[in-house]
């Protein structure tokens, strides 16, 4: 039985010294394909906007490339950090995240854009704290779930505690305000708690309790109510509250099955606000049509599917921290992609969420890359553990067959 217990394979890996793992190829390819598609769409959707702002037609493209490059470095770094180190330092890292979230409220450091304090001034670019917090919370939550697995799978309180921690961050985000990210954090935590083994009964109970709170938060601000109602019927006021969404819907409707052709979008010509960031999918749908939407969904399904598969393998190896990290990151990517696409298609209220890896947006691009680096790390350690096991087996077999 001990043969299959790799819970302390660190010692074994140390013992066998140079045992190496492999990064999951499918994960990397899916991520690269998505990033490439994103690059093309950012180029297509931002040229007119950049030109209109007199910053050079390729301003946003160059920025995007730069951030992808930084993201690549970040992912390589993440892919080389031992998960055990992350696990040990999960709490201090989360506290760093909390500091980042608080910094946005500090004058001269935090930047206010469109009435929301979401950015930290970093020289010439702004950094969106929440993007880092997303990963740090996933890592912390993974470590928490490992440490409190028994509680989690038992009492109601065991479920409330991790959700409560996430709720603190969600609360901070609501102050910014960033309702979309707050919801996303809660949803990801909920998903992790579920995958961590929380009882359905407890979650249902909690959900029943949380629903009125969420509804209250949603309806407490006029603009949120407006967003909610305008998304239900954007054509009621297509030139004010429903402006962005109606423009997105027009773009999508123009796309038909195969699109108007790459680069031929009209809606990106100043009609659709945020065409290269939050609403890049609408431009994609206009230029590449229904086929484009399906392509995006398939690529995300592939990416996220690899992520969950890696996580499952990790959990099955009893490497729960690695597994939960993979689950959390996969959930984060999946949910954010679904929400972003949903917003573009007009089935969810406008949230201000980017489409991971595809949208232009510095912090999002960098941190998504880092998150994929983390997934890659998990895949590496899973494969390393398998290699170590094979090595042990082959060594034992070698001993056994010796006459």
């Amino acid at each position: 039985m001990l043969l299959f217990d790799f819970s302390n394979d660190d010692q074994q890996a140390t013992r066998f010294g140079d045992v190496k793992g492999r990064y999951d190829l499918g994960l990397v390819v899916a991520a690269m394909l998505l990033a490439s598609l994103g690059l093309v769409m950012v180029a297509s959707s931002s040229i007119a906007i950049a030109d209109g702002q007199h910053v050079g037609a390729f301003y946003y493209l160059y920025r995007h490339v730069a951030f992808l490059a930084i993201g690549l470095v970040a992912s390589l770094v993440m892919a080389r950090i031992e998960l055990s180190w992350l696990e040990r330092n999960a709490l201090p890292l989360l506290l760093c995240g909390a500091v980042l979230l608080l910094l946005v409220f500090v004058p001269f450091i935090g930047v206010r854009v469109n009435g929301a304090r979401r950015w930290i001034r970093l020289g010439f670019v702004g950094f969106q704290s929440v993007e880092a917090v997303k990963i740090l919370l996933v890592v912390y939550m993974a470590s928490y779930l490992v440490r409190h697995r028994d509680n989690l799978q038992g009492k109601l309180l065991g479920v409330i505690k991790p959700l409560g921690i996430a709720a603190i961050f969600a609360g901070l985000l609501l102050v910014q305000p960033d309702f979309g990210s707050a919801t996303l954090l809660m949803a990801v935590t909920l998903g992790m708690v579920w995958l961590g083994g929380a009882r359905l009964r407890n979650l249902a109970l909690l959900g029943a309790l949380a629903l009125p709170v969420l509804a209250g938060a949603a309806l407490s601000q006029d603009y949120r109510v407006k967003r909610l109602t305008s998304f239900l019927d954007p054509w009621a006021d297509p030139f004010k509250d429903g402006f962005q969404l109606t423009q997105a819907l027009i773009a999508i409707g123009r796309g038909e099955w195969t699109g108007v052709g790459l680069g031929a979008s009209v809606q990106k010509l100043f009609y659709l606000p945020e065409a290269h960031t939050d609403f890049i999918l609408a431009v994609l749908a206009e230029e590449l049509g229904f086929a484009g939407i399906v392509l995006v969904l398939v690529l995300f399904a592939w990416l996220v599917g690899r992520g969950f598969a890696i996580g499952l393998r990790a959990v099955e190896q009893n490497r729960h921290f690695a597994g939960y990290c993979a689950f959390g990151v996969s959930l984060m990517l999946a949910l954010q992609a679904l929400v972003s696409i949903g917003v573009n298609l007009g089935v969810l209220p406008t949230k201000g969420l980017t489409l991971p890896l595809v949208s232009s947006g510095g912090s999002s691009v960098m941190m998504t890359c880092a998150a994929i680096g983390l997934l890659a790390r998990v895949s590496y350690e899973v494969s390393r553990a398998e290699n170590a096991m094979l090595q042990v087996i082959s060594e034992r077999q070698a001993l056994e067959v010796r006459p």
């Binding site: 209109g52 579920w194 999508i252 409707g253 796309g255 099955w257 939407i293």
Partner: protein
């Protein structure tokens, strides 16, 4: 907790997550199909409504040429600077820069932009020359663009301003021939359907809705040289006699083409500004005058047509007055016993009145009407007046008598020219036209024999002792009639005079008819003194410009080259020779 069961448990839970994600994805796919396939028409219509625009393709207005191909009205391309107020106001800090470049007041520009902040189009400045427009565009101010337009330019300026009229800033004819021939000159703007981005830039041509049809050129009947000559002489005469206004019309007899039509005061159509509208009237066609003695030619035509009178039928005009139902009609001088020709020669009001008394009023009305009085000429000039010829049944004996010598009816100078042209054209009236080669069908209005006779009578006017000797032209025989009338005002007459001359040259085979009307000359006011010399000078020049062969060459051959002047003086009345006034004070009341 059994460690072995947990992985399986996680797997199950993961499948639940997959189910949720899969369900959500499927919902999105369904939604995408709904948007992109099922309801695409609605969204595409909405999109088209936002950025499909029908744009005018500007066309240039046709050029107006004179009869010799000289350009009289040309369109030059100019640029008009416009802005999208919505977009410009987002860069309000640059409005000052724009205002300075366009020479506008910054505050008022900003105010006007704010007023139109919900609009997408506002003209900043129109009709700039392309260099100036480029200088403004070069500033790269967001929301500022230019539009090609055409500006009308009139090289001949005030000389032909009344005839041509002018266009407004949108290149649409407003007055004169620019208005009359607007659809011909303007052509038809093309329309193209384009896709525009939200800032108004065209990004794609979708289709040509209507092809542009450029305006067609127009060659008019005016001869710029004669026009200039007439303008110069009329203006000089007005200055000399301190007159208030005046007109001159010259017709080409065989075709009815208007060779010249000038008015004073005039205006510069290239810089109209706030010119007094009175200066813009083409008085020759729109203003009426009482024709005075010039009308006697038609009275005598009626008399000859009646058969009751012959050119030499005697008529007693002594004692130079004639009282009719308490109204006294008087001549300037008592000429005693004269004949019908003498009535023309001496411009006898008494003679004309006595002749008219023998004619039926319907008969007389009919002749006048046939000569085109009381109706517009059909030249098509906008705002042309039909004049006023009272209908015959309203004529009493006094009215008939006064109408006989040109009071109690009113005519335009153009109508008068048309009437004289009918006499010149052997009794066939051809309505005047402004278009070269645009001659209208003529019609017989009087027996050719009568027309010829009348021309002979009118010739006597230009020779002593006739009243119009100042209208004489060297080497050409002139037939014409002077006239003087008082300005009618509110049913009465005031002490302001209108001096007229209507005539034709060369009298043997008339080619040109000219009418001169001068209002309110100071000092000597007789037509013989004020208008006749203008006629002489202009027609003299016009005949030579048109290469009309002289018909009075006997003196040409007899005179030595350096004595031409003497010959001319011999043919014409010497300066200071007495000119018989054709107007008697206090006649019409």
């Amino acid at each position: 907790m059994n460690a072995r069961t947990k992985p399986a448990n996680t797997r199950t839970r993961l499948y639940a997550v997959f189910a949720v994600l899969g369900l959500a994805s499927s919902a999105l796919v369904v939604r995408a199909v709904d948007l992109q396939v099922v309801r695409k028409d609605f969204y595409q219509e909405q999109g088209d409504a936002r950025y499909l625009r029908d744009i005018d393709i500007p066309v240039s207005r046709g050029t107006i040429f004179d009869r010799n191909g000289e350009p009289l009205a040309v369109s030059t391309p100019v640029e008009s600077i416009w802005a999208n107020p919505m977009e410009l106001l987002e860069h309000a800090d640059r409005i000052g820069e724009l205002a300075r470049a366009a020479g506008l007041d910054e505050e008022s520009l900003k105010e006007r932009l704010v007023e139109r902040s919900d609009k997408e189009f506002y003209y900043i400045k129109r009709h700039l020359n392309p260099d100036d427009a480029q200088a403004i565009l070069g500033l790269g101010i967001p929301g500022v663009s230019s539009q090609r337009e055409f500006r009308r330019y009139y090289p001949s300026g005030e000389v032909i301003a009344h005839v041509l009229g002018f266009t407004n800033i949108d290149d649409a004819g407003q007055e004169g021939l620019e208005l009359a021939f607007d659809s011909w000159l303007a052509g038809e703007k093309g329309i193209k359907r384009v896709i525009r981005d939200r800032l108004g830039h065209e990004v794609e041509n979708v289709e040509l809705v209507r092809e542009a049809r450029p305006g067609k050129d127009l060659t008019i009947s005016i001869d710029r040289r004669i026009q200039y000559l007439a303008y110069r002489e009329l203006k000089a005469a007005l200055a000399e006699h301190h007159a208030s206004s005046g007109s001159m019309v010259i017709l080409d007899v065989p075709t009815g083409e208007i060779l010249a039509m000038v008015n004073q005061p005039s205006f510069n159509p290239n810089a109209r500004g706030n010119v007094d509208p009175a200066y813009r009237r083409n008085r020759a066609a729109t203003d009426v005058v009482e024709p005075g003695s010039t009308m006697k030619a038609f009275t005598i035509s009626a008399a000859l047509e009646s058969g009751k009178w012959k050119p030499h039928t005697p008529i007693d005009t002594s004692p130079g007055t004639y009282t009719l139902y308490g109204h006294t009609i008087s001549d300037v001088h008592n000429k005693g016993m004269i004949d019908v020709t003498g009535v023309i020669t001496y411009s006898s009001n008494v003679g004309a009145a006595k002749i008219a008394a023998t004619l039926g009023r319907d008969e007389m009305y009919d002749v006048f009407h046939r000569f085109g009085f009381g109706e517009v000429t059909g030249c098509g000039f906008p705002g042309e007046s039909p004049g006023n010829l009272p209908i015959a049944k309203n004529w009493g004996p006094v009215e008939q008598a006064t109408i006989a010598y040109g009071y109690g009816l009113s005519v335009t100078p153009l109508q008068l020219a048309q009437g004289y042209a009918a006499l010149a054209n052997d009794g066939r009236l051809r309505p005047p036209t402004f278009v070269k080669g645009g001659q209208a069908k003529d019609r017989a209005v009087i027996d050719p024999q009568i027309a010829t006779t009348l021309r002979g009578m009118l010739e006597t006017v230009v020779h002593p002792p006739g009243g119009g000797i100042k209208a004489a032209i060297t080497n050409y025989r002139v037939a014409g009639k002077t006239g003087t009338s008082r300005t009618a005002i509110g049913g009465g007459y005031q002490k302001k005079y209108i001096s007229l001359f209507a005539g034709m040259v060369p009298a043997t085979a008339p080619r040109l008819v000219g009418v001169v009307v001068i209002h309110d000359p100071q000092g000597a006011y007789y037509g013989a003194l004020v208008s006749a010399p203008v006629f002489s000078k202009v027609m003299d020049g016009a005949l030579r410009l048109l290469d009309v062969p002289p018909d009075d060459v006997q003196n040409w051959y007899t005179a030595s080259p350096d004595s031409g002047h003497t010959v001319r003086m011999a043919r014409q009345a010497p300066d200071g020779a007495q000119v018989e006034p054709d107007y008697a004070e206090g006649v019409p009341e």
